[in-house]
Symmetry: C2
């Protein structure tokens, strides 16, 4: 097998310029879900890419939103893995790109310290790593004559950037497509600027909601429109009212960040001993000063100095964050008005074992019992109580795919930082929850940056510890072989 | 004198179409102080109008802002009155006018129930009434051969719509221009849609300020820019902080509208017996339901039902109003960010004997003692402690100009609603305060509407109790003769 790997690696090196061209082609096809631009075309292209990689069957499935593309790569192997990808990208409007004229006409440029990077929308998030994975599989299929040690089931969604509203529905009603799968891989560029590699065993969930206070629904204050502020002594203000309502939601004078919505924290699970152990190791390896610096933050909450406490708070605490607030006159100068409405966008990050619908109901109940029955709560998707936001996900640290990933990284010379979870959110729960119940790892050498921002890039050449495209592709091959080894020894799981 | 008045009235009637033309001409000259459009041209035009009305001397004075126009109409009369005017108008950008294509190309149109109205920017606020007054004086000067019973001192400012930042400075350093004046008149269209006439004995003051909370000045939270909201557990939020700070400023659970900034109410003067009497009469005449309806307000504060209590609150209570609040992501949908700054625009309406600089200092002290030293306070004009906002003004109800105005209205068939003050603000203090110490009345029959809004109008024809242009002009003449009578009996006041 070692010589087989060597042969695949060598094919990758030999064809790497063609591989670069394939990434450029994929980026050149715009696919902005939020604006419904190029989605169908990109889905068709992805289907083509699946066929080129070696799938015999590849299909575009309709959903209530953007299509899902499915590909089946059958090698007669005893082990089968799912591969989760996304083919949509973030909007570019209003952004000033300096290294390309058009974010969808990607270019290969120098970006010190990196000799060659691809610049374009989706370069790292995530068309670069996605195509890198497909390149790797294609070379591996050619070299092995279609006898990879794992079968693959590709699924690419087109709505990741708009929080995957239809992915779970698709997966749970097409679970037969994942029959026999043992685990799921999401190809990624997991190295930071210093070349450090991270592995996250799940993530937080999230839901977003808006509170609106208006004279109209309150029955007090101005209803139709703003009024002249000289009436303020006898006409009440929806803006002051919303501010009072918000204050009741974080009303602990001893700890102004604590959420005082009744029951908010009641389902929060403390870290296990195993997770605490992971965070101890992690804390000893992280440079918290560098994290502060990159965020532009002088001090952490309550002057936490990094270390395990900081990680426990970051990863195990739910939040009630204000994304934005807006009401009345906000232009230059002043305007003597008494506004008739104001709204605030909030977001709750969910940790195990919180459930979005329950938390939202608690917030509604909190407002009601505090006398704010009129304040309107509108949740993400406007879909109260049914499907709200994204669920948290837990990946068992003992899952063979986790060991496979860690060992693959180590054999490639990298000792990954293992995080018990991601502080952010990804649609991992779609696979870890019933009906599939599959562990998922986000994996891959390689580095890129400025996701969602102008001049998004993906590194092509090795630079110090940061690996370029060829090494990223080899890491994917390595993982597939490692996973085959791990799951080959196990009694096989059936979905 | 009665036959002299008759002759003037008849001249007004005879030349009324020419008078309409003069109003159209004045409106056609844009004069937007906020955007510095047409100001110098309009000042020159006003100087011309003063000369046409009969002034022998008329001058444009420079100020640090827009010019002030002064005109001296000398009739050798024993009584001299000041006439305050404004020649600037509000911006029109972003407004949808439907009755004219260009707000500075005014037209005479039908606007039921009014047969003819002038539509254009400044029609009622206040080029229409201003020119009406000048028309009246011109006819009166012609009919009397330049022997009006009062001398007039015109002053027209070009910055009323940007809160008269230079008027007081000009007046107090040119008090010789007002030598011998007994009172000041501001021509206005004082009738509402039902023809009711109001007279206000002064006004509230106002100052506006912005509070800004940022990670930069706080030293906590994100400093450079917003950050990804997944860091919310360990990075504090300037938005929640500002909300907490605002809550301390209205923190009385029994009365959520009461301002709890220490000393906020300490200089507030209660109404005198005389003022209470005025409000009793006023309350019996006002239709509070109609006021609610026109404001789009279902209930007043604490369900006040109109009457004296409502008027006392409206006119004698200072306010801390939020004009607008703005921070973080406020576009459509959601955005997982933790904002680095937020700001809120507030305004305080001042009643006697409050002083803007003192109140602002109390607000600063309040923030400091509550631990919000970092929250930035920026007041109107960015001129902390020196000149902040507009002062309140009191006009003595016993001033002869007040009786002259009331009697003039009564003899014209209108019993005016006399308000102890205006709930809003006008630059009345410029004249009532030292060095001038002159009472001022805002006076005139006539009606117009939609000031600052699209399709601003000024009524030309009598419609029920609402009077048109000719009657408005006659009311001005009437007031001048009444004032001459009142002040003629008095020992003369010297400025």
């Amino acid at each position: 097998m070692s010589s087989e790997l060597e042969a695949i690696y060598s094919a990758i090196d030999q064809n790497i310029e063609e591989h670069v061209g394939r990434i450029l082609r994929l980026i050149s096809q715009p696919s902005i879900a939020a604006q419904n631009i190029g989605m169908r075309e990109c889905a068709e292209l992805v289907r083509q890419l699946f066929l080129e990689a070696g799938c015999r069957r590849a299909e575009v499935y309709d959903t209530p939103g953007q299509p899902v593309v499915y590909g089946e790569l059958e090698c007669g192997a005893p082990v089968t893995l799912g591969v989760y990808m996304m083919y949509d990208v973030k909007q570019v409007e209003g952004q000033k790109w300096t290294l390309v004229e058009d974010p969808f006409k990607p270019r290969v440029v120098e970006m010190p310290p990196f000799k060659r990077v691809i610049v374009g929308r989706g370069a790292v998030n995530s068309k670069g790593p996605m195509q890198a994975f497909l390149n790797a599989v294609r070379e591996a299929m050619r070299v092995t004559g279609g006898r990879l040690p794992v079968n693959l089931r590709f699924i690419a969604e087109g709505e990741e950037e708009i929080s995957s509203p239809n992915l779970y529905g698709f997966v749970s009603s097409h679970k037969e497509l994942f029959e026999g799968c043992s685990a799921v891989i999401m190809p990624f560029a997991a190295q930071d600027t210093r070349g450090e590699v991270s592995l996250h065993l799940g993530c937080k969930g999230v839901f977003e909601f808006e509170l609106e206070c208006s004279g109209e629904s309150w029955g007090r204050g101005p209803t139709r429109s703003e009024i002249h502020s000289s009436y303020a002594p006898i006409v009440e203000s929806p803006v002051w009212r919303l501010i009072r309502a918000l204050c009741t939601m974080k009303a602990d004078p001893q700890d102004p960040e604590r959420v005082t919505v009744e029951g908010f924290y009641e389902s929060v699970a403390a870290p296990t001993e195993e997770e605490l152990g992971m965070m101890r190791t992690l804390a000893s390896r992280l440079d918290f000063e560098a994290i502060k610096q990159s965020l532009g933050v002088k001090v952490f909450w309550r002057n936490l100095e990094g270390g395990v406490d900081t990680l426990v708070k970051l990863l195990y605490e739910p939040t009630l964050n204000i994304q934005g607030i807006h009401g009345g006159y906000t232009g230059p100068g002043f305007m003597t008005i008494l506004p008739n409405r104001v709204s605030v966008k909030l977001e709750v990050r969910l940790v195990p074992n919180m459930e979005a619908g329950e938390v939202l109901a608690k917030i509604r109940r909190h407002l009601d019992t505090h006398g704010y029955q009129d304040i309107r709560v509108t949740a993400t998707d406007d879909d109260f109580g049914r499907k709200v936001g994204e669920k948290w996900a837990k990946v068992d640290p003992k899952a063979p795919i986790v060991s496979a990933a860690i060992e693959a990284y180590r054999e490639l010379g990298y000792d990954p930082q293992v995080w018990p979870r991601l502080a952010g959110t990804a649609p991992i729960h779609v696979f870890t929850n019933p009906p599939l119940r599959l562990p998922l790892v986000i994996f891959g050498l390689g580095h890129g940056g400025r996701a969602h921002a102008p001049d998004e890039y993906y590194v092509l050449d090795d630079t110090g510890k940061v690996k370029g495209l060829a090494a990223a592709e080899k890491s994917f091959v390595k993982l597939l072989y490692k996973a085959a080894e791990k799951y080959g020894k196990q009694p096989q799981k059936q979905a």
